[in-house]
């Protein structure tokens, strides 16, 4: 085995030992962890954010309300209970425009709007991203495949107090007449943190 496999195997055994003892001692149950994982697979994930953005794209008045009072606008839609739950208690949407590109970062750790985007992906948690995005965002975005010209203002949002931001990306050309469901299908988690644009699949 390589050193890397040892490290991962050890962690896998260690966490299983811990979970096992916590169950034996009555702290959690044999199903607690599975239920938490399932919650983020079924109820709270980026599929919620995609529906919100798709609605904002087809309904400019809704978009306005979303930017002005994000929780109230989210509450208008038919989601499972919990859109103002853990890590979504105080969310705020910011919109990309032809003149402004927004990028969300949490330089101190990994604050992320769970109900709308689910759990933070590795790139967002990566200390290298956190270090660089706040100082050279265009360079980082270029490495991610997104070229933001100097004529476009970049706004980097460092989320470190109690507000959780997400981005309403721009609607791509070629989607005129699409249904909200069709639109939601092409909206990625990365685009809702400003790390990518939404593109129409070829």
């Amino acid at each position: 085995m390589s050193e890397n496999v040892d490290r991962e195997t050890y962690s896998a055994a260690r966490v299983r030992a811990l979970e096992s003892l916590l169950i034996e001692k009555g702290i959690i149950t044999g199903e607690t962890v599975d239920k938490v994982i399932e919650f983020f697979e079924k109820d709270m994930g980026p599929f919620n954010g995609a529906k919100i953005v798709a609605k904002a794209w087809v309904d400019p008045e809704y978009k306005q309300r979303l930017l002005e009072d994000t929780p109230a606008a989210i509450a208008e839609l038919n989601f499972p209970r919990g859109m103002a739950g853990a890590e979504g208690e105080n969310m705020k949407a910011v919109a990309n425009t032809p003149e402004v590109h927004n990028l969300i970062v949490c330089t101190m750790c990994s604050c992320y709007p769970w109900p709308v985007l689910g759990l933070p992906p590795y790139w967002f948690k990566d200390p290298t991203f956190r270090a660089r995005a706040i100082r050279e965002p265009r360079k980082v975005l270029k490495e991610f495949g997104l070229d933001v010209p100097e004529s476009v203002e970049v706004r980097v949002w460092d989320t470190s107090a109690q507000i959780r931001w997400f981005v309403v990306p721009e609607r791509p050309e070629g989607t005129e007449g699409w249904t909200e469901e069709q639109l939601a299908n092409i909206i990625t988690p990365e685009s809702m943190q400003g790390a990518a644009k939404v593109v129409v699949p070829a």
């Binding site: 896998a12 055994a13 260690r14 299983r16 030992a17 811990l18 979970e19 003892l21 916590l22 169950i23 009555g26 702290i27 959690i28 149950t29 044999g30 199903e31 607690t32 962890v33 599975d34 239920k35 938490v36 919650f39 709270m44 103002a84 739950g85 853990a86 979504g88 208690e89 105080n90 330089t107 101190m108 750790c109 689910g118 759990l119 992906p121 590795y122 790139w123 990566d126 200390p127 956190r130 270090a131 660089r132 706040i134 100082r135 965002p137 265009r138 360079k139 490495e143 991610f144 495949g145 476009v152 970049v154 706004r155 980097v156 460092d158 470190s160 107090a161 507000i163 988690p189 990365e190």
Partner: protein, 239 residues
């Protein structure tokens, strides 16, 4: 300074990895689930009073972060995100007397011999109900108290330079910098516990705008603005 607070702006790094997965190893999901359960069963939550768990501690993001910020910074970067969680959370359960290091080590050895060995089953369903209820309800820091914000939109503010504490909510790169209040968030926000540098009691939070060049001088890019949400305790009038 603690390097953990000063990650924003570090130079000389490699290109960023665009790894889109949330978990890169299956075991990472398990420690994530354990942390969520601990937050959901924390004794500061009113809803937990009648839940039949043997967990009797105060556990929040603030506690997890205090552990990560307390690491020797050269160790901090040796571990992946969920490796730090696993170390911090295991250490907490040992230090608090819920499990002994010996039994955790022995159990780890058992699972190393057979990772597929089953977990115990059973337990009180009311525990799981509270965990999911916590996820749906959250633990909002927003408080129903009247506060008069010291600053208003358009005010120029200076970021204070308080002595470092065990857990800090102020990104290091902002210390002593000047910005402009862009938004005063509605209401007042507390933190799970007093951090020792002013944060804790309900207070306003501001969205403050900084020009990238004000912070990084010429080591940044043109046409770039930085917006940061900052607790009032970290801000003062310019000298």
């Amino acid at each position: 300074m603690k390097l953990q607070h000063y990650i924003g702006g570090l130079e000389g790094l490699e290109p960023s990895s665009f790894e889109k997965r949330v978990f890169v190893q299956p075991w990472e999901q398990r420690i994530f689930g354990i942390h969520v359960a601990m937050m959901a069963l924390s004794n500061h939550l009113e809803a937990v009073k009648n839940v039949p768990t043997t967990f009797k501690s105060f556990w929040t993001w603030g506690h997890l972060r205090t552990g990560a910020e307390g690491l020797n910074p050269f160790d901090y970067f040796k571990y992946r995100y969920y490796e730090k969680w696993l170390g911090g959370i295991s250490g907490f359960f040992i230090d608090s007397g819920y499990v002994s290091k010996e039994e955790l080590d022995a159990k780890t050895t058992e699972y190393l011999e057979n990772l597929e060995a089953p977990l115990p089953d059973g337990g009180e369903p009311a525990i799981d109900e509270q965990v999911i209820e916590y996820l749906r309800v959250g633990d909002s820091p927003k408080c129903e108290v009247e506060v008069q914000p010291k600053f208003k939109v358009g005010d120029v503010v200076t970021v204070k330079n308080p002595p470092p504490v065990a857990h800090c909510k102020l990104p290091g790169y902002l210390r002593t910098k000047q910005g402009v209040v862009d938004e005063v968030y509605d209401g007042a926000y507390n933190y799970y516990f007093p951090t020792g540098d002013g944060v804790g009691e309900p207070m306003p939070i501001y969205n403050v705008k900084f020009n990238s060049h004000e912070i990084w001088d010429n080591l940044t890019e043109p046409n770039t603005e930085i917006y940061v949400q900052i607790f009032e305790a970290y801000l003062e009038d310019p000298a």
